[in-house]
Symmetry: C2
Subunit: 114 residues, 2 copies
């Protein structure tokens, strides 16, 4: 059985982050796709600062990585983070959120397709 070594305190911190539905969904999306702030703003119909704050929390723990492409900064899960294996096996059990990106594409607001 593949086990990651993770302290209780760190585990609780990660789980608390994932215990917010918006962030959990973001993480599920970012596990497979790059996504930028303005796309999340559309997906969740939330304000840009709110989305930015959610990402900040993930960034503070090194859970996500950024890549600037032109005007946009794309976020994805940082698979090199020490907690990633722990996070991944949680995300694996969640339903796909790809439909949310699909919807963006249909509306012509998917940016990472360009």
């Amino acid at each position: 059985m593949l086990k990651t070594s993770i302290e209780m305190e760190n585990a609780a911190s990660v789980l608390k982050l994932m215990g917010d539905k918006t962030r959990l969904t973001m993480m599920k999306i970012m596990d497979k796709h790059d996504c930028c702030v303005c796309e999340f703003v559309e997906i969740f119909n939330m304000s840009q600062p709110s989305i930015s704050q959610h990402l900040r929390k993930l960034r503070d723990l090194g859970l996500v990585k950024e890549e600037r492409r032109g005007q946009w900064i794309f976020y994805s899960m940082n698979k090199k983070n020490m907690y990633y294996p722990f996070i991944q096996q949680i995300l694996e059990h969640l339903p796909s959120q790809d439909d949310k990106l699909q919807k963006l594409e249909e509306q012509g607001t998917r940016i990472s397709c360009c």
Copy 2:
């Protein structure tokens, strides 16, 4: 790959519960052992009402089961709960908390040994 079907909203709720270090530790202990309130009070050096409130939150979601034995009510993880498989694979990755029960036994305050 064994996957459980769990909705995002429910997953977030469960994860939020587990995002508290005290509750996470309690859940880890209860996954293998029965434990009563007064034992948790000793383990965590917290007030009885606090422990009781933590258990209440777990109980409200059906995550724990109770069993009265004399004066005491023993709690353990409810392995029949629909979310248990999801929870279990998270708990599996955490370090054992058995040493906490061990310490109780050494102090002579372990109740479920009697």
